[in-house]
Structures are given as C-alpha cells and as structure tokens.
C-alpha cells in the first residue's frame, strides 16, 4: 500500500490562505487504511481548518471518494465543484494529480506527504518495503529488498557499517543485509551472497523518467 502522512495543520493553513470556499476530499484507498487521509480524517481536517480560518470567513466542507486515483471515481465530485474555489486532497500524490488532471480549472492542494510504499508492521506503525525499482530481485535476497531497505541500496551484501544487526545510520534501523543473511542461512542459500551482482539497470527505475505500463488485452482495440 501507499503510505501517507498528514502535513502539519499550520502548513496546510498557509497553503489554503487566499481561498474562501474549500472542499476537503478524502480517499477511500490506501490512506484510509493508514488512517491519514480517509473520510474520518477529511471531516476532522474540515473542522480544524474551519476553526483556524474562522476570522477569514472561509467556508469548508468535506467528502470522500472510493479512490482518487481513478478518473471515473472522481465523476461524483463534478456537480459540487461550482460551489468551491479550491480542493484540499488528502490522497497520495497520485490521487492529488488525478484530481488536478480531471478538474483542469480547480486549484488542488495536497494535504498529505506521500511517504512510501510499505505496510503496517504493527498497529499504527508503517515501514517501507518497495521502491518500485522496476526489476525485482527478491528471489536472490530471500524476500527482503535491499534497494528499499538498505540505506545505501547496496546489491552485494552489507557495508562495513553493519553491526549487531543494525544499520550505521541509527540503532533504530535494522540492517536489511543482516536480515537477508540470516534468512539465506536458514534457507541454506548463503551461496547467493558469493555471487558478484553487476551494476543494476536503474533505467527501469525512476531514473529512466516517468514510467508507463501497458497491460496487454486491456487496451481497447485500435489504441496504443
């Protein structure tokens, strides 16, 4: 899932200043699961902003759509938009951009910082797991991703800063390569670590520019 974190209210207040009718839009997808940008948070945000901007006579309302990252699910916002001069989106960066693209004349303000692709490791605590590098090697690394979880995205094992299972950057951060080592040892596959892994093709990652994916069979006939 995509994990997002609410921006500080003061920052949002600064961003919405100048608008007088603001619609706060939550997203029913990932950010509802991590309880930062769903219906409940949209309602709370509308109240908070209403109080913060009371003296400026700003009117606020809120709503939530099933997912902000699909155009057809944004249709329902259309009839309401005439009464607002800005949208505060509590979706991830994908949702914010979908709203902006779907409503070309409406200003859209992000209410969240999109932090990472990850998962809850215990209630209320989320950790990064994937960086969408575009070339998965989890089979070689025992199901633990060094690209996302090693602070240096190393591919040939832990650096000299790994000690007692912790990363050199902080005692709070587990060394991903230490985890990989232990798991490969359990699986009897430590030989994986003896192999020289050659430089990675980062062109399949973000470094190659914005990416596209075409799912064969889903593209309507006659289109490319």
């Amino acid at each position: 899932m995509i994990v997002g974190e609410l921006k500080p209210v003061e920052e949002i207040v600064a961003k919405v200043k100048g608008y007088s009718r603001i619609l706060v839009v939550g997203c029913g997808g990932c950010v509802t699961v991590c309880q930062t940008g769903g219906a409940r948070e949209a309602e709370t945000m509308a109240h908070l902003l209403g109080m913060a901007l009371r003296d400026l006579h700003v009117s606020l309302d809120w709503t939530c759509v099933a997912r902000q990252c699909e155009f057809e699910l944004l249709e329902e916002l259309k009839p309401r938009l005439a009464s607002f001069d800005a949208i505060l989106s509590l979706a991830c960066g994908v949702g914010v951009q979908a709203v902006a693209e779907f409503f070309p004349s409406s200003p859209v303000i992000p209410g969240l910082n999109t932090t990472f692709m990850g998962m809850p490791v215990r209630h209320g605590r989320f950790e990064e797991r994937c960086q969408a590098c575009g070339d998965c090697i989890l089979d070689l690394t025992a199901g633990i991703c060094p690209v996302a979880r090693c602070s240096k995205s190393l591919l040939n094992g832990p650096c000299g800063g790994s000690q007692n299972g912790k990363c050199e950057i902080s005692a709070e951060v587990e060394c991903a390569w230490h985890l990989i080592y232990e798991r490969l040892e359990r699986l009897g596959r430590l030989d994986n670590l003896e192999r020289l892994v050659l430089p990675k093709n980062w062109a399949k990652s973000r470094d190659g520019g914005p990416r596209r994916m075409v799912r064969e069979g889903l593209v309507p006939d006659g289109e490319e």
Binding site: L155, N156, G157, E168, W202
Partner: protein
C-alpha cells in the same frame, strides 16, 4: 614494472606502510602540502580521503595532485555515495591521466553523518561493482556499457574491509568478492580488538585470500580515553577492546600511552600470518605518524628501483 610504488613495495615482499591524509574543509592547498611534508618518508603511499564521514572537503583527486606535486604517492579514495557510474568512470580516467597510480574503492559513509544530511545520495554502484568497473577499464579497456577506450587507466586497485562489522563470517566472503572483482590490496578498519582481527586473518588465510591480495591492517592512535570510549560505544562498525580504554584512562601521559599502544599493536600485527603492511589512520593527529613508524621499526622506508 608497476607504476605504483606501493605495488612495487608489496611485490618486493617488504612490509608496507600507508598513512591517511584528510583534505581540509577549504581550498587551502598549503595545508595539504604541510600535512604531506610532515609525513614525507614515513609511508610508502598516502590515502586521500573522499569527503570522509560525508563532510564536504577538498576533492580527493585535487588534494592527491597537491601531494603528488610534493613528490608523495597518493592513493585516491573513491566512494559510491556522491557520484554515479558516469562520474566515477570519468574520475578514474582523470586519476590515471594525472599519473596517480592507486585507487581505493569504498562504499562511503551515509550522508546522514555529515554536514549535509539533506543531500540526495547516489549509490548507483556499490564498492564491489566499482572495483569491478576499474578492473574492467584497466584490463579490458572497456566501460560498464561495453564501449572501448583507447588508453586504459593503469592503476593499482585497492579496497577496504571491516573485520569488526557483522555478520562476521560474511566479512571474509565480502573480501573474497572484492578480490574476485579486482582488488589487489586491502586496507582494514582500525584494529582495536586484536582477537577478532586474528580470527579474521585465520579465515582469510584458510581461503588463501592473503595470496591473492595484500592485506594492510588499519591502525589508529587514539588521543584520549574519552575518544576511545566514544568509539567503543557509538561508532558503527568499530570495536575497541576494554584494555585499550583502561590503559588510556589510567595513563599519566595519555598521548605517550596512545603511541605505546599503537606500537605494540603493530608488533602484534606483524606476527599475524597473512598481513603484509599497515595503514595508519591518525585522524587529526597526523604529526604523530613519524614517531609511530620509527618506534615500530619501520623507518626508513624501502627505496624502490624506479626512484
């Protein structure tokens, strides 16, 4: 004959001495000259660190050139933190074009340690891939992309390894990977826990790695007991034996004791099978290197034929 004096000394079977010269946090070339001249004659080659601990300093290649102008042989440290494969390969060509014969490839400390923790890191390559890249450029005359070059960089390739990091058995595997990728000499993290280093060298020798690359043991004079305790508790990837801390804590003359400790360590290291030299990292205490080298019986340094 090898272009690198360090390589020639190792080939001759002499016990090698290298020392570290950290470039300044300014463009003061006179500072580099002064440090270099202080150490002249006391080491065979001089490591120039590459923005060590992620603090911006004079570029290692530029500082290396200043040392070379003074007649000292630099070992250019290159980390993977700040440059992608385009810049790294370009700098390898630059180092060789300037006549510097040694490159040491490292991963690099994470930028969060330094004075620009908000920087974007690179790590396009890791240290093992960098070693492999330099070797391929030198021996096959090819870049990573496969394109060929007309004049190949003739450099002696070094790496580092940390016997005090974990998982311990992997440290020897990693050294083996580095040697297979092309490393010809190895400088270790500072040995401040002799037993662990002995075990590491035993494993290195069991696998015959000491015959495939020259191992230089890192040593570091520690100026104060407080610093020793700090490194023992807070520096990732370091191990400091309790008795070192205690000796410094009890010493009347701490600096004298620090030198005694290093000199004793060097004597012990010379007895360990497979070790072919030492690398002295006297961070912010370079002026003590001559005394250490003299008292360790490693002065004068051998003169090689080219000189």
């Amino acid at each position: 004959m090898a272009r690198s004096k360090l390589e020639r000394i190792l080939q001759s079977g002499s016990f090698a001495v290298t020392a570290e010269v950290g470039p300044p946090k300014s463009c003061n070339a006179a500072f580099v000259r002064k440090k270099g001249n202080l150490l002249r004659g006391y080491a065979d080659a001089f490591n120039v660190t590459d923005n060590q601990t992620a603090i911006v300093r004079m570029s290692s290649i530029a500082a290396g050139i200043v040392l070379q102008q003074e007649g000292l042989e630099p070992v250019i440290q290159m980390t993977c933190r700040d440059r992608n494969r385009i810049a790294l390969q370009s700098d390898v060509l630059g180092v060789a074009a300037l006549g510097i014969p040694n490159i040491l490839c490292l991963t690099g400390d994470h930028q969060s340690f330094g004075n620009h923790p908000e920087a974007k890191n690179v790590f396009d390559l890791d240290s093992i891939q960098l070693i492999h890249t330099v070797r391929t450029m030198r021996d096959e005359g090819r870049f990573i992309c496969g394109e060929e070059m007309k004049v190949r960089p003739d450099v002696f390739i070094g790496c580092v390894e940390n016997p005090f990091a974990d998982p311990f058995p992997f440290r020897v595997t990693r050294l083996k990977k580095k040697i297979e990728a092309g490393a010809q000499f190895v400088q270790t993290q500072c040995v401040l826990e002799m037993e662990r280093f002995r075990r590491f060298m035993e494993m290195v020798c069991e696998q015959g790695l000491h015959e495939r690359a020259a191992v230089l043991a890192g040593v570091m004079p520690i100026k104060s007991a407080r610093m020793a305790r700090y490194m023992q508790k807070n520096v990732a990837g370091m191990m400091v034996a309790d008795d070192i801390c205690e000796r410094l804590e009890k010493a009347q003359d701490v600096q004298e004791e620090a030198i005694n400790i290093v000199v004793e360590q060097i004597a012990q290291i010379r007895e360990i099978p497979g070790v072919r030299g030492i690398h002295i990292m006297a961070v912010a205490w370079e002026e003590v290197v001559p005394e250490i080298v003299r008292r360790a019986g490693l002065y004068p340094r051998p003169v090689t034929e080219i000189e």
